[in-house]
């Protein structure tokens, strides 16, 4: 039974070494990892951005990606959202015994491809194998570091009244692509997860204007939740316009079917930027010229009154409050 992950693969013994060398080191070939020391030793200078995240997506393969690609891009994006150039990542795999070795290798390869695309290196890692039922096939925990260029000051508390709110593209693609695979809901769609590295987009935006106030990637909880976080952190209100927010037809349809609001559906390759009004057009231009920002749009603006509140102008010209996501998105019939 060599084609499956066994508890012994996590034991630290021979099998474990074989796995690390044959699967991981080979795929992520770089001098730091090849040393197989207990920690990666790196020279870095400048302002450091440091982040960590865990990935437990189910199913681990979904249209447009898999858990490995998601882990790399997710970590890269967390770094990019503070304006940093992402450099090095750590990856730790928690594997449920019985996971087919090919699937693991497939994910490792996809991690490698993703790291290459994002221009980062996987410099350290770990593997643990747990009993059947103790994990759902595979969990990945990551950490990442990057360097923040001088003069860049991006934080969720920097939004000012008058600033413009920019969105890099369509919302809800990832959440709906993953949901389409979920047992008990099954519907099919050509829609793929938008899972993508946003660091080059951010670099181009910063090139256009170093004065970007806030950046956030609306992952779980969707656009609505990110905007609420920003409004609360910056003690301002945000007003967006429903008709300006790009949504794909498939996402809209799935949302209509399941009773969701696309504003709350997860994204993995989109960002919201809050930018001083005089720089908004420049930044928008830079976004539209970048691969992952082609359908970027200005979707609203920051205001002073009612701090902490997000409101949306509906297609009828009326306005309504947009709250954070509460609990899980559950499909509803009514």
């Amino acid at each position: 039974m060599k084609d499956k992950i066994l508890l012994a693969h996590g034991s630290g013994g021979k099998l474990a070494h074989e796995l690390v060398e044959k699967s991981f080191v080979k795929a992520f070939s770089n001098p730091f990892l090849a040393k197989l020391d207990d920690s990666a030793v790196i020279d870095i200078s400048g302002r450091l951005a440091f982040t960590t995240d865990s990935y437990v997506v189910s199913p681990i393969f979904f249209p447009g990606g898999d858990i490995g690609k998601l882990a790399v891009f997710g970590t890269v994006n967390d770094l990019a959202m503070s304006g940093a150039h992402p450099l090095y990542l750590s990856l730790s795999f928690i594997i449920e015994e019985g996971l087919p070795l090919d699937e693991l290798n497939q994910i490792v390869n996809s991690v490698q491809k993703a790291a290459q695309e994002a221009g980062v290196e996987i410099v350290t890692g770990d593997t643990k194998v747990v009993n059947r039922g103790s994990a759902d096939r595979l969990f990945i925990n990551t950490a990442g570091v990057g360097i923040i260029p001088d003069g860049v000051d991006i934080s969720g508390s920097n939004a000012r009244p008058g600033d413009k709110v920019l969105l890099s593209g369509t919302i809800g693609d990832h959440g709906i692509a993953v949901l389409s695979q979920r047992e008990g809901l099954r519907f099919s769609t050509k829609l793929e997860s938008d899972c993508a590295p946003l660091n080059s987009l951010v670099a181009e935006m910063l090139n256009a204007s170093p004065n970007i106030h806030c950046l956030r990637d609306p992952t779980r909880g969707g656009l609505a939740t990110s905007l609420n976080e920003l409004a609360k952190q910056s003690k301002v209100s945000i007003r967006i316009e429903e008709e300006k927010i790009p949504v794909r037809e498939e996402v809209l349809a799935a949302c209509e079917m399941l009773g969701f609001d696309p504003l709350y559906v997860a994204n993995e390759g989109k960002l919201v930027a809050i930018v001083p009004p005089e720089d908004a057009d420049k930044v928008l231009g830079a976004m539209r010229g970048s691969h992952y920002g082609k359908s970027a749009a200005i979707i609203g603006e920051v205001r002073a009154e009612h701090p902490g509140r997000v409101a949306m102008k509906t297609c009828l010209g009326a306005s309504r409050i947009v709250d954070m996501l509460v609990g899980d998105l559950l499909p509803r019939i009514c």
């Binding site: 099919s188 498939e250 799935a254 079917m257 509803r332 009514c334």
Partner: protein
């Protein structure tokens, strides 16, 4: 209450159908609308077609609303 959405019937197999809803497909049941044909739009509630949508009525409603909108503009 009772979320229902329009879906286009693509293929019928026995009492079930493959239906398209704005670019996504899902199997739906035709138990409640046995007369539905391929090419019909049906209202789908919890996976069941509960009615066949009347395209003519929809067009008529829309042209009425267009007329109202036009009228309102002239007067405004």
């Amino acid at each position: 209450m009772c979320l229902a959405i329009p879906a286009l019937i693509k293929v019928i197999e026995d009492k079930e159908a493959e239906a398209e809803i704005g670019g996504i497909t899902r199997r739906i049941s035709l138990w409640l609308t046995p007369e539905a044909k391929v090419g019909d739009y049906v209202l789908v509630h919890t996976g069941y077609a509960i009615n066949i949508l009347d395209e003519e009525e929809a067009a008529e409603t829309l042209s009425l609303l267009e007329e109202i909108a036009g009228l309102a503009e002239e007067e405004g």
